[in-house]
């Protein structure tokens, strides 16, 4: 299963992120590809929106300013395995904008689906609560 991230914050929506997410699901169904589209938040690099990310073994590979009508080309070019393309940025975490930041309260912004408790937990969420529950009064 391939995980594809398409942001759903207002900035991304204003650049057609919903249409992009729909196009990815449609194309995947049509071609019988096992793809899960996750609607994350924006990483904050609004000028790259919609910034579509594909989960690969090496990390999340980003594609900038993706439009819905590019999706079939991107799939043909193998973007679901993170292959290169004109719009490919490489590993998103390695971009200067993110590499030079230390995010604390914003650590999970743009990384997960903000409404997924499982994603939250997988990224260290609920640790404090669990610890508190295990303590004696």
């Amino acid at each position: 299963m391939t995980k594809v991230f398409v942001p759903m914050d207002s900035a991304a929506l204003s650049m057609g992120a919903n249409e992009v997410a729909q196009a990815i699901s449609d194309q995947a169904t049509k071609s019988g590809l096992d793809v899960t589209v996750v609607r994350n938040g924006s990483r904050g690099m609004l000028w790259l929106e919609p910034l579509v990310e594909v989960e690969t073994e090496a990390g999340r590979v980003g594609y900038a300013n993706v439009t819905a009508d590019q999706i079939s080309d991107l799939i043909a070019a193998g973007f679901l395995s993170g292959s290169s393309h004109d719009s490919c940025l490489g590993l998103v975490e390695e971009l200067d904008f993110l590499k030079n930041q230390t995010r604390i309260t914003f650590a999970r912004v743009g990384v997960i689906d903000p409404l997924s408790l499982a994603d939250y937990e997988a990224h260290g969420g609920l640790k404090g609560l669990r610890n508190a529950i295990s303590m004696s009064p």
Binding site: S10, A11, L13, S14, M15, L46, W47, E49
Partner: protein
């Protein structure tokens, strides 16, 4: 949209009966329900919230987002604030003007109304616009009309 009764509005405002602090929320609810706030709704809200009509009128006229007449099928808001001016909203606005829309006057043409607004918060992707609540980044005349005709069709 223009079909409403005092009863239907009162039903809608039920949770806020007697709550004088809920005038703003009540106005929002009426606009959500009818698309605008008719003059008679001001009396209904005043009665329901147990405040004077003058107080409701004051809140109603303070926020330019509230309208007293029914909206066009497509309501386009175009940002005229500084960040969007810096990213070229002036030429967009004059293009819209050439197509028969004066966003400063907010005239309606072909079921489309274009209005000015001050900052939609999408400054990084200016010029910013909004069509019936859906945001449009790096707005162009073309993008705006495509989105507007999709809702008027």
């Amino acid at each position: 949209m223009s079909n409403f009764s005092e009863e239907s509005i009162l039903n809608y405002l039920g949770p806020y009966k007697g709550d004088g602090s809920a005038v703003l929320r009540s106005l929002q609810l009426v606009q959500e329900l009818l698309g605008y706030v008719p003059d008679s709704a001001l009396d209904i809200i005043a009665k329901n919230s147990n405040v004077s009509r003058a107080e409701v009128y004051g809140v109603f006229t303070f926020y330019s987002d509230f309208r007293s007449t029914p909206p066009a099928k497509a309501v386009v808001k175009v940002c005229v604030a500084e960040a969007c001016q810096a990213s070229g909203s002036a030429s967009l606005i004059s293009e819209l003007h050439d197509r028969g829309y004066d966003i400063h006057k907010g005239n309606i043409k072909d079921d489309i109304q274009m209005e000015q607004t001050f900052c939609l918060g999408n400054c990084a992707l200016g010029p910013a616009a909004m069509v019936n609540g859906a945001p449009i980044g790096r707005a162009t005349c073309e993008k705006i009309f495509v989105a507007a005709s999709a809702v008027t069709a």
